[in-house]
Amino acid sequence: MVRRSLIRDRSAAITWRSPLRGQWLTSVLGLVLLAGLTVMAVTGLLSYAAYDPRLPGNDRTTGGGLLKFYLFSWPTHPLWLYRLTEGIHVTLGLALLPVLLVKLWSVLPRLFARPAVRSAAHAVERLSLVMIVGGALFEFATGILDIQNFYVFPFSFYTGHLYGAWVFIAGFVIHVALKFPRMLAGLRSRSLRQELHTPLGQTRPEAPDPAGLRAPAPAAPTISRRGLLAATGGASLTLAALAVGQSVGGWARRTALFAPRGLSAAEHGTWPVNRTAASIGLADEDVGGAYRLVLIGRRTVTLTRDQVLALPQRAATLPIACVEGWSFAARWTGVPLADLARLAGVGQPGGALVESIQREGSFRAAALSAAQVNDPRSLLALRVGGADLSRDHGYPARTIIPAAPGVHNTKWVNRITFTERA
């Protein structure tokens, strides 16, 4: 008796019996992903634009010229711009993962549908799913691993995540174009309000649909449709809530239990950083009395740190917002970059190359645009929060640029080359 029931159960598992699968459920999840993944694509491409990749040395990716058509000079107003777009990109990405997984669960039986291929069009359509499913999973995986510094992928994160996004976008657009009418029909097939009032005991399978999403012989439900939606939404909110504090900052940082610069950074008691002085092998002699700042323009000026401190100082409250999603705002004090340009004989700066003592590694230098150099809030900062910079924050001096990605706020600056506006 026991054996027979086991055998029956096993076959039941293989023939997809969940009574919750159906076109309405898939359409609801699809609608959430349509909105959410569109925001992900836009904020992701904005993040690429924020690096001002047209300036020499700033682009971390090669080739793909046609996919860089939309680039514009990244603005310095509003100064929280990158903090917002990248905070959304990372937090929303975490929140959408459960939705993506449940959406894939709802359609996965179709992967094993027979006949596997009905026509040439069907074959092409199935192949095109590699772009959207593979692209989405690839983007979520690389993004989630990167924010934890788990660099196990055998390619550059920037190259992989950018071009993986374009593969995803290609699949996403074609999928939406083909399935949009079916999604609308699915959404109209049931009432959301009704579903939210239907407990387990009254949960019935959906009507059979042309796509064959509903199980042919659904089993009795063990969870209501609203229960599944609540669990999915709850998982999304949980993932987002335990991470978003690293982007909001202040007391909220302590609520970010799992975010890489959340509670841990708050408990550490300092502003979070993305590269420690120890990790680049910064030596005492690099930052001691022998430190010199070299400004290159029409003339070359060499300054000690004390001489930079003696220049007119300006304070600005500016955020540092990392591509990994975390950010904080602080009050920085230093010399405006435009003032340093004038010191080097460049009255109308058209750009600057800021270089670090750091000898190798990515982002040891950043090219800045004319808008960035000329913004009076762009500083070569010497102090933060009323105290000298810590070594991890770039002592003796670092740049801080409004609305720029964190890595363009170069630390341990020892050379700035200004160019005259053409």
């Binding site: 159960d9 598992a13 990716t61 090669t62 080739g63 793909g64 046609l66 975490l94 459960p98 997984l101 894939l104 669960w105 040439a120 069009a121 069907h122 359509e125 095109s128 590699v130 772009m131 593979g134 999973l137 690839f138 989630i144 934890q148 510094n149 788990f150 055998p154 390619f155 550059s156 190259t159 992989g160 071009y163 993986g164 374009w166 593969v167 290609a170 699949g171 657009v173 074609i174 083909l178 009032h197 239907t198 009254q202 063990t222 969870i223 229960g227 669990a231 998982a235 993932l239 239990l257 799992f258 509670l263 841990s264 950074a265 300092t270 950083v273 993305n274 590269r275 420690t276 990790s279």
Partner: protein, 205 residues
């Protein structure tokens, strides 16, 4: 023209714009992969695309499906008809906290398991050690909250089945009870229905 379109449709299985749109999409994706190839990284890129799909569709999905199936089979009484059950079904009170816990682990495993502790420390100056403790704490809290919800629900639904079982053999007592003032009974019923928003089917809420 119509005949040509019909012929195309018979050969291809959809209208011409379907093929045009697909060609455009594959063209765009191919161009992007070409850019990765220019960077000399297409092998790793293609490998990870494949691993992402296979890893989800043929590893993660079967694993969680089997785990869920095993859970529903292992739980006592889960296959009994709802009307015969004296307890509310336990399964979702395990499913939900377990799914949340595993999802958190799926996302944050490099920090929780300390796999990226080195690069993370070099980047942030912070230790990965607290993440495992926090995850275990969150798992504990979620199961505890779930257990509390279950206990609450069990208490809410327990009066009715007990009374029903006794109702048959002890008719005299029931008759005697039915002469009691009504308010307490109504209060009990409204308490029972409160958790679903709808009158519950027998044995469930």
């Amino acid at each position: 023209m119509n005949a040509a379109a019909r012929l195309f449709r018979r050969w291809y299985g959809a209208r011409p714009w379907h093929l045009l749109a697909q060609v455009a999409a594959f063209g765009l994706a191919g161009y992007a992969v070409g850019a990765v190839a220019d960077a000399g990284q297409w092998r790793g890129f293609a490998l990870w695309f494949t691993v992402a799909i296979v890893g989800h569709d043929l590893v993660l999905f079967p694993l969680y499906s089997l785990a869920d199936l095993a859970l529903s089979r292992l739980l006592p009484g889960s296959s009994w008809p709802a009307a015969l059950r004296s307890r509310p079904p336990l399964i979702n009170y395990i499913r939900v906290p377990a799914a949340f816990s595993l999802l958190l682990l799926l996302v944050w495993f490099p920090l929780i398991l300390g796999l990226s502790a080195g690069p993370y420390h070099r980047a942030s100056g912070l230790a990965a050690a607290p993440y495992l403790r926090r995850w275990l704490a969150v798992v504990g809290v979620m199961f505890a909250v779930s257990a509390a919800c279950y206990a609450l629900r069990w208490r809410r639904m327990s009066p009715r089945p007990r009374r029903r079982v006794r109702a048959g053999p002890r008719r005299a007592r029931v008759r005697w009870r039915s002469r009691l003032p009504r308010p307490p009974r109504q209060a009990r019923r409204s308490r029972r229905t409160a958790c679903a928003g709808n009158p519950p089917p027998p044995g469930r809420c």
